[in-house]
């Protein structure tokens, strides 16, 4: 029954929703809960269909009662006699007290199982463990033992024929946020005086998108998340690259390198291997390995990078990086250097 419901609903949903052109790199999928990519999201969708069927049936019953009354029990013109006054009926009223109680009980038992299945405080075996910190308005990902700290994009390895498990430990550096990638599972709030955990799962390589779901101030709308699930070999290459310090600046970008280190960029940003070791803002050691900048506010290309460094307030108004008041020329120099940080 659940599958049939899923089939019908899904067909009509996908007809209506895939009309939008997908202009992301191949493999990026829209963040719909109807497209689960792992066990947690699939469990949730299963429960959703169950709810849909049960409450749908209730809706049909009650709406028919109302429709029946509205159509068949109208006053006819000139009929001034009052109808029979019915004050109530104990058996009938008992029935519609007890039957809903039973339905609620049933629903409760099924969903309670779902809660205990999905809410985990210990990582499933073989999962990638990442510590996530929510900042206004970007995400920091710390891969612990791997010695990697990145921002905005989370990389996850997947082996052939096995779903990839991801176990997140959530912290907040300031206010409450919420980590939400609909296709990989439910959401979990990220709260400053509390450490939360979230288990997610992906069963196919792709880029999954999501975003912050708890209002956290001005740029809450552009606190996006990308989870890149890739074959283990690709992941390992990515890890090896991320673990390296930033390349030494060659002569061509020496000027930009010096300018960058002279500017207060380094108070906020880190570039490993240089004196820049600020921890307020995203780590820029391998900034060019990211698809987007500003936690998804803009694609990462030479043009947007220059716009960003010139004045981030144009791309992400209200964000916590001020315009550094560099001239166009200086921006070019700095960005030429940033572009070597692959």
């Amino acid at each position: 029954m659940v599958d049939l419901g899923s089939l019908i609903w899904h067909a009509s949903m996908s007809m209506l929703t895939t009309a939008a052109p997908v202009c992301e790199p191949a493999g990026t999928i829209q963040p719909s809960m109807f497209n689960p990519a792992g066990a947690p999201a699939a469990t949730i969708l299963g429960i959703t269909w169950l709810l849909f069927v049960i409450t749908g049936a209730i809706a049909i019953v009650v709406l028919s009662l109302i429709a029946y009354a509205a159509i068949r029990c109208r006053r006819k013109d000139g009929d001034d006699l009052e109808p029979a006054q019915v004050y109530g009926s104990n058996p009938i009223e008992l029935a519609w007290t007890v039957i809903p109680l039973l339905i609620v009980f049933l629903l409760f038992m099924i969903s309670a199982r779902g809660i205990f299945d999905l809410e985990r405080t210990t990582p499933p075996e073989g999962s990638l463990e990442v510590s996530v910190t929510g900042h206004r308005w970007w995400w920091e990902f710390d891969y612990g033992d791997l010695g990697i700290v990145t921002a905005g994009e989370l990389h996850v390895p997947i082996d052939d024929g096995k779903p990839a498990d991801l176990f997140l430990t959530l912290h907040s550096a300031d206010v409450a946020h919420s980590f939400w990638v609909p296709q990989l599972g439910g959401k979990m709030d990220v709260i400053p005086d509390r450490i939360n955990h979230l288990w997610l799962q992906a069963n196919a390589p792709a880029t999954y998108v999501g975003q912050c779901a708890e209002y956290c101030g001005t740029q809450h709308a552009k606190m996006l998340i990308r989870v890149v699930v890739e074959p283990r070999a690709d992941f390992e290459a990515w890890v090896a690259n991320q673990q390296k310090d930033a390349v030494a600046a060659d002569a061509a970008v020496k000027e930009g390198h010096d300018l960058f280190l002279r500017t207060s960029c380094i108070n906020c940003h880190t570039v490993r291997g240089t004196v820049a070791n600020g921890s307020f803002a995203p780590d820029l050691t391998h900034i060019m390995s990211r698809d987007t900048i500003g936690s998804g506010a803009a694609p990462n290309n030479p043009k947007t990078l220059r716009q960003w460094v010139f004045d981030p307030q144009n791309i992400k108004p209200g964000c916590d990086m001020p315009s550094m008041k560099l001239s166009r020329h200086e921006v070019d120099l700095v960005c030429a250097y940033l572009e070597t940080l692959k």
Binding site: F34, L51, A84
Partner: protein
């Protein structure tokens, strides 16, 4: 109409109409009369009028949000402006539309329906109204006075539930959040006082013969409502005092960086916030419980069970607040417990749905405008209740909490439910309050246009939420599959605006030119219809005596009175 001598029939006497006036009343004395009044009817009408004005203001705020969201990537509003709009819209709708309509209608109707001459404490009542009004001014003054530090915001932009620590001084500079705190704090003192006043009135001032179980259902539901106000609003006031200590005196209750607790605010707020939802919807239940029987020409089906269900809702709704916190990482056991209590609240609510439907079945229904809106309420509130069960189901909530699905759900409650019931009530009692009918043709057009506009606006929000769109975002990207749904929502607003315009037109026109109503235009059964329209000061010439829940039915049908069956 008066049947003396027969003790088993309600004795009711019509008071004389208002004293004839000599010549026109000068504007100033008229103004003085309204400002200085302690009359429950005048205060009631002032509450409702203010509620309607704020409804229009908050509706315009919402329309601006929908304009921005009609297409992806628009920049009509800056992020700060958008964030202020949803905060002001939500805060206004809850505290300055829902609450004044609750207290306005209760003020106007309760004494009339229980045969009393006024509320128990008329001056306290006036005090409550003015606290509410000045509280609302305080909130809106933030647009001018919230500046504080240069560039640090005007109106508050922390959302209507103002989660800590976003509201702490570090993150919310200037004074906008202080205005939010004080405006609501002042208004909520007024609300608490008025609720106590109404409870005293209903418990102590019912006319002869009206035992608690003979009170009209409206009074019962308002009684439960007022108890909820008294229990739920003080915790909010306490939380707000703690917050303003944090902000102005450097305390650290909610300041997570300094050892305070962010979750403490969430618990305190929702301990108020969930009952508040029921505080808002119970008056809706109350209105339709009076209107449906009259227009179906049948007594309400299962009165005792309706009373029991209302009381049950009152109790259960005090124990479900953590369903707003399913995603904060409570233990599975706690989540399950609150899931259970939340689902349980669906049972008494379901009972009401069934009883209302059963009242209609077998009746001879007249679809005048109040009945149309009540039927709209039934259908739309049914859907809201069912998506409420979805949200109570924790795993599903993890998928959609804080998404547009939730926005869709609670607008089906508050707009499709409460606001439709409010329209029903206005069309039903406007004749009593003013002596004139609202225009039925305009009313019917308004109903059908709003049905279309409302469902077009808020139906698609369920879909965009399930497709991953969070709430409170000022813009979104084009590639997420949300465009169609957002565009439909925004088109719905355009349709709604037509409906609201018709309503405003109808109100203005009918207040002056509407058809004369007479005392009992709907052929109804409760005491307010036994006095003149509008009722005179102190309502009744002599204290009515009742023998059943429908005193006017007894008079109209002496051969078959209610008290034989109750």
């Amino acid at each position: 109409m008066r049947l003396l001598g027969d003790p088993q029939v309600s004795t009711l006497q019509k008071p004389n109409g208002p004293a004839p006036l000599d010549g026109p009343v000068p504007f100033l004395s008229k103004l003085h009369e309204w400002v200085a009044t302690t009359d429950h009817k005048k205060l009631g009408m002032m509450y409702v009028t203010c509620g309607i004005v704020y409804l229009i203001i908050a509706g315009l705020e919402a329309s601006m949000m929908r304009w921005q969201l009609a297409w992806p990537g628009q920049t009509i509003l800056s992020p700060e402006e958008f964030n202020r709009l949803f905060t002001m819209h939500g805060t206004t709708m809850v505290f300055f539309v829902g609450m004044p309509v609750l207290f306005g209608t209760a003020n106007f109707l309760i004494p009339l329906m229980i045969g009393a001459r006024d509320l128990a404490f008329p001056r306290l009542n006036a005090f409550g109204f003015w606290l509410f009004l000045f509280g609302s001014f305080l909130l809106y003054f933030s647009y001018f006075g919230g500046q504080g530090l240069y560039g640090m915001g005007s109106a508050p932009d922390v959302g209507w539930f103002a989660y800590a620590p976003l509201t702490e001084r570090t993150f919310s500079r200037g004074h906008s959040t202080d205005y939010w705190i004080l405006g609501i704090f002042v208004a909520s003192i007024g609300s608490t006082l008025t609720a106590i006043n109404l409870i005293a009135t209903m418990l102590g001032m019912r006319c002869k013969g009206m035992t608690l179980m003979k009170m009209p259902l409206l009074a019962w539901m308002m009684l439960v409502d007022c108890f909820l106000v008294v229990v739920a609003l003080p915790p909010l006031a306490a939380a707000q005092i703690m917050l303003i200590f944090d902000r102005l005196l450097g305390a650290h209750f909610f300041d997570a960086q300094a050892g305070g607790s962010a979750l403490l605010w969430q618990n305190m707020f929702w301990f108020f916030g969930h009952p508040e939802v029921y505080i808002l919807i119970l008056p809706g239940f109350a209105f339709v419980s009076e209107i449906i029987p009259v227009f179906s020409r049948k007594v309400i089906f299962g009165y005792p069970l309706m009373v029991a269900a209302s009381v049950a809702i009152g109790f259960i709704s005090l124990g479900v607040w953590a369903h707003h916190m399913f995603a904060v990482g409570l233990s599975p056991m706690l989540n399950a417990i609150f899931m259970g209590s939340t689902m349980l609240v669906g049972v008494p609510t379901g009972i009401k749905m069934f009883n209302w439907s059963a009242t209609m079945i077998g009746g001879k229904i007249r679809f005048d405008t109040p009945m149309l809106f009540s039927t709209g309420f039934l259908c739309q509130f049914l859907l809201a209740g069912l998506t409420g069960i979805w949200l109570a189901t924790v795993p599903f909530d993890w998928a959609v909490s804080d998404s547009y699905f939730v926005v869709g759900h609670f607008h089906y409650v508050l707009f499709g439910g409460l606001l439709f019931a409010i329209f029903a009530a206005i069309f039903y009692w406007f004749p009593k309050a003013t002596g004139r009918m609202l225009n039925e043709t305009l009313g019917k057009w308004q109903f059908w246009i709003l049905i279309v506009g409302f469902n077009l606006t808020f139906g698609p929000m369920h879909v965009s939420g399930m497709l991953g769109m969070p709430r409170r975002i000022y813009t979104y990207e084009a590639d997420r599959g949300w465009e169609l749904w957002n565009l439909l929502s925004s088109i719905g607003v355009v349709v709604q605006i037509v409906g609201f315009a018709l309503f405003a037109l109808n109100l203005l026109h009918s207040s002056f030119k509407g058809r004369r109503a007479g005392d009992d235009p709907w052929d109804a059964w409760t005491l307010e219809w036994s006095t003149t329209s509008p009722p005179p000061a102190y309502n009744f010439a002599e204290e009515p005596v009742v023998y059943s829940r429908r005193p006017l039915w007894d008079i109209k049908h002496p051969e078959d009175p209610d008290w034989k069956y109750e």
